[in-house]
Amino acid sequence: MSFGGHKVNYLKRSWLLVLGMLVLMAMVSGCKKKPPPAPPPPPKAVTATLSANPTSIQPGQSSTLTWSTDGADEVSMDGNKVDANGSQSVSPSSTTTYHLHAKGAGGAQDASATVTVTAPPATPTPTPRPTPPPITDEQLFAQNVQDIYFDYDKADLRPEAQATLARNAEFLKAHPSWKVQIEGNCDERGSTEYNLALGERRADSARQALIRAGLSGDALKTISYGKEKPVCSDANEDCWQKNRHDHFVLTSH
């Protein structure tokens, strides 16, 4: 478009300008007044809630799960199909989180609720233990065949030593093929050589008692360690008493 000319044409050019503006205005207003197209029906939004009551139980007790959904075509609880709204009693043995999944045209919604299982205060839940390895003959022997103890410089059997030997004998009778070494020991006092003789006698006292109780002498060997292998090295009666003993060792089974 040209707006050439001078004063002579001023009125003519103004008219053209107004006309143009009118045309433009008419065009703009003509667009605004066009009617809008009809929108599609909006899909319904999917909602889901899940709650547990109570949220904390002890083993064996139950909790109620309550859920509600809206706008879902398909509702499942941990993979199992459930009603859109409902409740269910659960009794988990350990803390469990339940997952609700609702799916519909308006989308999908998840909800979850956790039921915490607490240990009862009075009777704690036993922790599962690994299976113990099978007991060895040596362990069985050590659990059942007890040491016997002596008075100072004595090889005589005290009453409680006789009782211990009787129990030892009963156990050993059940294992007639086992061979046993009886080890006589002394406390640190006294002479190295004499203590070897005393240890011999202590070991032999036990061997004779076991033979009298019905065991075979062939299965019972003795050795003296005198004061050469103390189990305790303090210089007091408590320790000396521990060292004045016969110890029994399974040597063949």
Binding site: Y152, D153, A155, Q181, R189, G190, S191, T192, E193, Y194, L196, A197, L198, E200, R201, D204, R207, Q208, K221, T222, I223, S224, Y225, E228, E237
Partner: protein, 461 residues
């Protein structure tokens, strides 16, 4: 030659008729016969020690250096110390203190002025002197012993030695020269070249060790890495018997010094302990549970053949032959309760109970066969054992004298071959160590210091 002074003639008379230990022992027993035993104290022992007959006053000036070799000083000092120690510990001399000696060195006979040595202040009866030199890594020693009171013919000994120039050989030459002097003046060979065998745990295991009689040259003998006990050297020093814990039992072990290794000895059933030789080396006594399940005394050939049981005491151990006769055995038995010392004939007959109270163990027979040393907790009370000391008993009279008084637990006395010394174990210093002492209770010496050491056994030559 030695009978010009009362002192030397008295010693000579004793030694002509009695073995030295007997002389000392009888003097001790005579001295205590007038005293109740409980009044004996250490002081009495010093008194009785000097009462055994006046000791010979011996002067030993330091040997003179004979050459200019730079090695002289060390060897000279080892030699002088060893010679002095040997003579001082011989039990028959009163050593004249060096501060009384005349000035100047005394290395040759021409240096010795008898009247100076024989009068106060030295007032010596004997003077031992000489010189030492190193030439071409050889050590030459000349030594003399002069009887100061015999100016007409003073020389008692004149000895020459030539060995490698080592500290060990300087010590060995000093021992040899000392032994010549002790043998000449004391009547029986000296102990300066003898060995002591013992048990030490210094390697972490109880093994047999040996050392010179003065504690020098400690060397490991057994290497079993187990438990070795009760070493006993054969009379000819060729074999060592001891007891050791094997795989499942205690056995008598035999080490040969000729072969430098263990040699075979029969294995017997049960536990086998505390071997002991006859003084002729033909038989061995030991304790064994082979026959009865309880420890009894057996005697076998030195090869271990033909063991024969002698006792039935059930807790019998620690046999030792009377070395004079080999016809008697002393041993320990708990047959009546606490262990006591017994004797019997070598065939097991004629059993005699020698002690009848306390806790008596570890008998050792003096070389002359007249005295038994043993360890004794004499005043034993229930629950409160007293001190364990070394005692000496005269077999014939059964009189007893106490040798140690200094505390601790004292055990395993063993006589020196000349009968003048006793070696024993004691924990008086806190840990178990080997000590030696003259049989009169003087000249106490600690011989070991490393680890725990026990059960000393003195070689018989």
């Amino acid at each position: 030659m030695l009978n010009k002074t009362p002192a030397t003639s008295a010693v000579k008379t004793h030694l002509k008729t009695l073995a030295p230990a007997n002389a000392a022992g009888l003097a001790l027993l005579l001295a205590i016969a007038l005293l109740p035993l409980n009044q004996l104290h250490a002081q009495d022992w010093i008194k009785t020690g000097t009462n055994r007959g006046a000791p010979i006053r011996m002067a030993v000036p330091d040997f003179k250096t004979a050459t200019a070799d730079p090695g002289n000083a060390n060897l000279l000092s080892v030699f002088n110390e060893t010679l002095w120690y040997d003579l001082d510990n011989a039990g028959i001399f009163e050593m004249v203190a060096k501060s009384f000696y005349p000035a100047g060195t005394q290395g040759y006979p021409a240096d010795i002025k008898l009247d100076v040595w024989g009068n106060p202040p030295p007032n010596a009866a004997m003077v031992a002197f000489g010189n030492l030199g190193v030439t071409s890594a050889r050590l030459a020693v000349q030594g003399w012993l002069y009887d100061v009171k015999n100016p007409a013919s003073p020389q008692v000994l004149g000895q020459q030695y030539n060995e490698d120039a080592t500290s060990d050989m300087a010590r060995t030459i000093a021992h040899r020269f000392a032994n010549e002097i002790i043998t000449r003046l004391g009547g029986v060979p000296g102990t300066a070249e003898s060995k002591i065998f013992f048990i030490s745990n210094r390697t972490g295991h109880k093994e047999v060790w040996q050392m010179d009689y003065d504690g020098a040259n400690q060397q490991q003998v057994s290497k079993l890495n187990s438990i070795a006990l009760s070493p006993r050297i054969s009379p000819d020093n060729s074999r060592l018997a001891f007891s050791a814990l094997g795989k499942d039992s205690w056995q008598i072990m035999m080490y040969s010094f000729d072969l430098g290794r263990m040699v075979s000895f029969p294995r017997f059933p049960g536990g086998n302990y505390s071997p002991a030789w006859t003084s002729d080396g033909t038989r061995i006594a030991f304790a064994s549970s082979m026959g009865t399940g309880a420890s009894e005394i057996y005697v076998a050939d030195a090869s271990g053949a033909g063991p024969k049981r002698l006792t039935t005491g059930k807790t019998d151990i620690s046999p030792v032959f009377n070395p004079k006769t080999n016809a008697q055995i002393a041993f320990v038995s708990g047959r009546t309760g606490l262990p006591q010392i017994y004797t019997m004939d070598a065939d097991g007959s004629n059993v005699q109970k020698m002690t009848d109270q306390g806790y008596a163990v570890s008998p050792s027979w003096s070389p002359n066969g007249l005295l038994l040393a043993f360890a004794w907790i004499r005043s034993y009370g229930p629950g409160v054992p007293g001190k364990q000391d070394i005692y000496i008993m005269d077999i014939a009279s059964r009189q007893i004298v106490q040798l140690t008084h200094d505390g601790g637990r004292n055990d395993y006395p063993f006589w020196s071959p000349d009968g003048r010394h006793i070696v024993f174990q004691s924990n008086r210093g806190g840990s178990e160590q080997i000590w030696s002492v003259l049989a009169d209770g003087t000249h106490l010496q600690q011989l070991t210091r490393t680890g725990r050491n026990s059960q000393p056994n003195w070689s018989s030559k």
